[in-house]
Each structure stands twice: as structure tokens, then as C-alpha cells.
Symmetry: C2
Subunit: 264 residues, 2 copies
């Protein structure tokens, strides 16, 4: 039986998503809990690896395990035994063809800036900009150069594990909104290079504070070269919001999904 799960976590408290020798990654916590529930080692497969300090409101992973008691009871079992900074928010029985990473058709990320000093209650989730107060309209003019299918090499970084992947990605959405001192960059795309969202966030902030002109974003993109013109924004502001999958009607699996009572 294959199970698809959604997880939310405060990345401040973990060494990123991917399993670490010190056992302090999100994946480690979840696999340790599953080993208790299933009384054997269980390997999970995440939709994407969030870096240390990066948050998630909708990370997705899957695993295989025989569990005859239904999704609702699996969700209850899975919510116990974690720190409250890591929560499983949904569990769904899916067909064996589902794969959290390979089946994903897109992801939504949000990058959050705070124009000022974020309070003790929010600082973990914002890049505090101090006295810098970016021009959101300029940021959106810069962002417009990035929408669509492009070679994003200028906004990528070399992943630590030497993975190679195509630098051609499609951004369906890249928009900056403002709510008082809180500024949000929201992006939906087919996929992202390593540290790409943080690089977009760093570059667009520089447009917002006049260090770069909006048109330069298009020139940087066209150069396909990562240079010091593109700064990487800190991890704190970044959150993986949602992973998108195609509608999959798998007649072999009866519908069984459980979600906790919560709202954003």
C-alpha cells in the first residue's frame, strides 16, 4: 500500500529535509516515527529537498506500508511523537504509480520579506529588511522578465550533491504583493534549480531598492551565467507552500484521505 502525506514544518528547527548523519533532518524525524508505527525501517520519498532553515506548509512525501486501519487512524498515529514544529497534516491512500517527486508537475513557493524588524513572534519566517523599504511595483516589473519558459542558469547554484538537471524551467507565476510592512513573493513553476527561489528573491529585492533596474533582470536571465549580481536571500523567508500533481483517478484504490482541522 502506498501513502501520500503532506507535512508542515518550521525549518528553523531542522537541518533541512534530507536525512543527515546527526539525525536532525525532517526526513529523519518522520522515518523514525514510521519505524515505530510499522515496526520496521520505512524509507520516505519527498517531493523536494528544502534547505536548512526553509519552511514548508505543504511538503509532500510518500512511502509504502501495509496499514489496514485506514487513513484517519494513520494520520493520528503519525501526528504523535513529533515536536510540534513538525506536523503531518494529511494522509491519503494512493496507487503504486504515485511518486511524490516524479509525479509532481509543479510547486508553489512563497518568499516573505519584512520592511523593518520582524517581531520575536515572526522573525523566523521573514527576511527582516531593517530600513530598506522596497518598491513593490519595480519588483513586479523585474519579475515580469522571468515568467514563462527560460534557461534559469543565472539564478541557479551548484547543488552540494553534484546532481545535474536541466536549467530550463517554466514559471507560471511570479508576483510580489504587499500588506503593510510584509511583502510576499509568490511563485508557481514546473520546477526550480537549487536555491533558485532564494536567488529570485535576492535579485528582486535589489530591484526593489534600486540596486538593479527592472530591465537588468532580463539581461541577467539572458546571460545564463550566475554572477555576483544575483544575491541569495536568506533561508528564513522561504516556504514550500504546495506541490501540484495531475488529477489521478486510480480505480484500483478506494478513496481514503484524512486531513487535520486547521487553517492557514
Amino acid at each position: 500500500m502506498r501513502w501520500k502525506c503532506e507535512a508542515a514544518y518550521d525549518g528553523t528547527e531542522y537541518a533541512g529535509w534530507q536525512s543527515q548523519p546527526n539525525g536532525n533532518a525532517v526526513q529523519d524525524f518522520i522515518e523514525r516515527r514510521l519505524a515505530v508505527i510499522f515496526e520496521r525501517p520505512v524509507r520516505i520519498h519527498g517531493a523536494g529537498r528544502t534547505d536548512s532553515g526553509v519552511h514548508a506548509r505543504g511538503q509532500v512525501f510518500h512511502f509504502d506500508g501495509d496499514w489496514p486501519h485506514g487513513a484517519a487512524r494513520l494520520l493520528v498515529a503519525l501526528r504523535v511523537g513529533f515536536p510540534r514544529s513538525l506536523q503531518i497534516i494529511s494522509v491519503e491512500h494512493v496507487g503504486a504509480s504515485f511518486h511524490a517527486r516524479l509525479s509532481a508537475v509543479g510547486k508553489r513557493y512563497r518568499y516573505a520579506y519584512y520592511a523593518g524588524h520582524a517581531s520575536p513572534f515572526e522573525y523566523r519566517y521573514y527576511w527582516s529588511l531593517g530600513r530598506r523599504s522596497p518598491d513593490v511595483e519595480a519588483m513586479n516589473r523585474g519579475a515580469a522578465h522571468l515568467i514563462g519558459e527560460h534557461d534559469f542558469s543565472a539564478f541557479g547554484a551548484n547543488p552540494r550533491d553534484g546532481r545535474r538537471e536541466s536549467p530550463v524551467k517554466t514559471l507560471r507565476k511570479l508576483v510580489v504583493t504587499q500588506d503593510g510592512r510584509r511583502i510576499f513573493l509568490e511563485t508557481e513553476g514546473s520546477g526550480y534549480l537549487y536555491r533558485m527561489v532564494r536567488s529570485l528573491a535576492g535579485c528582486l529585492l535589489d530591484v526593489g531598492i534600486g540596486k538593479l533596474r527592472p530591465e537588468q533582470v532580463g539581461e541577467i536571465l539572458a546571460s545564463r551565467q550566475r554572477t555576483s549580481l544575483v544575491a541569495t536571500a536568506p533561508a528564513d523567508g522561504l516556504s514550500l507552500e504546495k506541490v501540484f500533481y495531475p488529477e489521478m483517478a486510480d480505480a484500483s484504490v478506494p478513496p481514503d484521505r484524512a486531513v487535520i482541522e486547521s487553517e492557514p
Copy 2:
């Protein structure tokens, strides 16, 4: 020279306000920083002691120290060297008659409940009620019995340090509001007994979920006896929002106040 300061902190990370042998109280962090700035031990005086786990958005303290460089530079010096979960948000030069605790004429507290499971990003600041969904109107009917001047012995607890104080307090405001799953109890009063706000929050939740009738709140108050009918709500949901002082025009002190750029 006397300085009045406002502080905000995430109580989850500290052993309460009052200085502790392990040095992990908010007061300890602030006094250590002041000792560096003034190159001598500096004792601070807080408006009130928040318990371990209780938050503050507007705790007030004062101290004496010669600082010829003005409030703005003192604020900058005071914001450095703390964890970001503890922030000094304002500094004001005041007259020698000001005392953070003795001059205070009232305090505003907020208690926050979450009808469901608060996310990894909010759980520190709410009492998560799971499946319990309180009736806010009933809570307000119960709260109405507590407005005004009363002997609040039934909602107090014995302080650990054996302090004795009058159980007669005046609540000017005690109102429950709802924003989706988030429910807030806000209270303004002349003063509060030890654990009184958490006792009010626990008792009014029991009214909201039908364990107590609204009229029973008045009966409990009139009994002036603390009994097991009044439960103490957990510290997480509580925050000291503001300390009130009378307008004090002290002609001997030129106006000098600095505030950080922030909003709630």
C-alpha cells in the same frame, strides 16, 4: 538618568521574566547586555513578572544609567546581542519618579485559543483546542460577570514567593472575539493576581464548551474560594500586550524617545 524601555519576547524560549539561577530568564539576558553597555552591573525593574512560557509584546522595565548619547543610540545598543526572540522595541528618557511597576495604572493581556490544531508556525502562541469549538457568545456572557471591581480570590493562585497582595482588582475590559479558528480573550485591568488571566481563560473556555454555565462564573467569583472548578489555561496562549501609565509631564526631562520600525 532613568530609562523606560519596552520589550517583546517569545516566552517559549525563556524561564519567565524574573531572574533565575540558571540565567535563562528575560531579566538575566537584559541585565547581562546592560552590564556590557554600561561596564558595570545594572539592575532592571519590570512592570510585572511573566511566567515561563508567557509572551510579551509590551513588557516595560526601567533602569538607571548615565548615557549621554540619547535614546536612539541606546536603543541600537540594546537591540544588539540578544537572541531575536527577545527585542527591545522602545527606549525613553524619563524622570526619576517613574517606576515601571509602581507607576503602572493597568495592564492589557491577551489570551489566544485555536479551535483545532495550530500550525508549526503558530503553536507557541495558542492553546490548541483540538476538536473543542467553544461558543464565544457564551464566553462573553460569562465574562460579563467579571467586569468591574471585585475580590478575585477565586481566580488567583498562591504566588511562589509568598507575596501577599489585595485580591480586589478592577477589570475594565474582558471580551472574547473570534476570527475563524482563532479566538482571543482580551482584558484590561488595574492589576491581576498570580495566574489570574490564565485562570479566567481556563474558566471561560469551560463556559464556551458547556462545562460551566455563564451564570456560574458569577457564583464562582462570589465564593472568593479557589476550587477545582477553575482550571488554569496553559502559558502558551498568554501575552502581556501593554502596560498603562498616567500621562506624566516631567519638565526636568527633555523629551527623548526612540522606537523601532515595526507593526503588530
